[in-house]
Amino acid sequence: MSHPQDLSLHEQAAAIARGDLDPTELISTTLLRIVERDGPINSTPVVFEKESMAMLHDAPRGALYGVPITVKDMFALPWRAARNGSERDLISATASGPFRRLRDAGAVVVGIANQHELGMGTTGAISAYGPMGNPWNPATCAGGSSGGSAAAVSARLVAGSLASDSAGSTRLPASYCGVVGLKLTYGSVPYDGYFGASTTFSAPGVIARDARDARLLAEALLDRPLASSSGAPLRVGVVRTPFWDDVDPEIAVACESALRDAEWNVVELQIEHLELVGAAVLGRLIAEASPPSADVMATLSRPTRAMLLASMLASNIARVGRLRVAITSADGGLASAMSRPSTAAPTSSRCSICSSTTFHSASRSADSQATAISGSTSSQKGVRTTPTRSGAPLEDARGRSNNASARSRASRASRAITPGALKVVDAPK
């Protein structure tokens, strides 16, 4: 064996369990490898020598006992705040839900995985720690936002990393770096201590070298075994239009080959209204992106700041309102709970910039009448609803970007409504 990090995650775990690999030595050699090799890819800007040894000392003999991993900067650790690729602490140091699951499985956190600032980008090129490079060619990007996780696994600095995913932030960098990325089902992993980019999209993900390792990490995070199957009778739908329209021939051949080798029952599909999907996702991301406080905003890079500011403006329009999820209840639900003085934009019959007739036309007060909210997450039991800025004045959005504030808003909402039905409503124009 040349280096223990040349072993896969499950091989490391098995070797430790058999007594063939000393976990202390594994942690030490992993930390050394990160220091020696991470320079050009900048995947793991912070390492934890003391804390990782302490974790190992206390680690239970779980499925990941003694195995070193990295954790995306979006998750708070007991000894370090979540910074989300920014300069500032955004969630105070605490044992985040995903961290607890990995810790309880015996995993050891050896470092922070770099990420695109606030998760608002898919290149990994912008981060307070500096850009991430792709191990296959450090001059190219690692992808994002979980670029540090994918690059570290691809470079064999660690065999697994905790990532997250709102709209591709685990899957995209994994693809860029030639490793496996799996976004876990929203709501399947405790959400506390986690700074996701979107309240109803963001979910933890895992990055590993192969599917078996991804499964091992996923099972630890889910705290349950996943069903086992050969996949032999699996029927797989392939939607070529528009996704394959501009695919590189090399990639198309590789995908066709993989589908053929898997011996799945492949069904060619066409999906109606796909043109709406991108807009729908964008609309939800805009509606749910919460600008941080003004002092944090001032420390962000200009592109990230501009995206957040643009989302503040865009979330105020009827198009986004049309996608909102509204809560209805006998007493009018959130309409009364969240109705506050309007900060409506000045009305205009037609936007001079984009010629939209809906520009500026959705006032706050009108929004409120639609009983509109556009998020739905919290660790509240029973009712899980989080009104976003859509139902509150913009000045209330300041400083409400972390999960503590989301929980606070959800708590307010859950007190204000009777659990009822969710339905999509059309916001007034």
Binding site: R319, S348, I353, C354, K423, V424
Partner: protein, 63 residues
């Protein structure tokens, strides 16, 4: 200053967020691009997409 700049400045001022001209130019670029992409939603007839009630009591228990 145009409508967009006035509106954006007023909104950001209310949120106590200071922006400079470069910020505004960047914001405008992203905003216009976003509006263009969202334009497809103007063709959306919600009658074609009947909603389905979700019972909140069936939400996953995360504790």
């Amino acid at each position: 200053m145009g409508d967009f700049e006035n509106w954006a400045n007023a909104t950001f001022r209310q949120s106590h967020i200071a922006v400079d001209d470069d910020d505004l130019a960047f914001v405008q670029l992203i905003y216009v691009s976003t509006m263009t992409r969202l334009g497809v939603l103007d063709r959306l007839n919600l009658d074609d997409f009947p909603s389905r009630a979700i019972d909140l009591r069936r939400a996953p228990d995360l504790t």
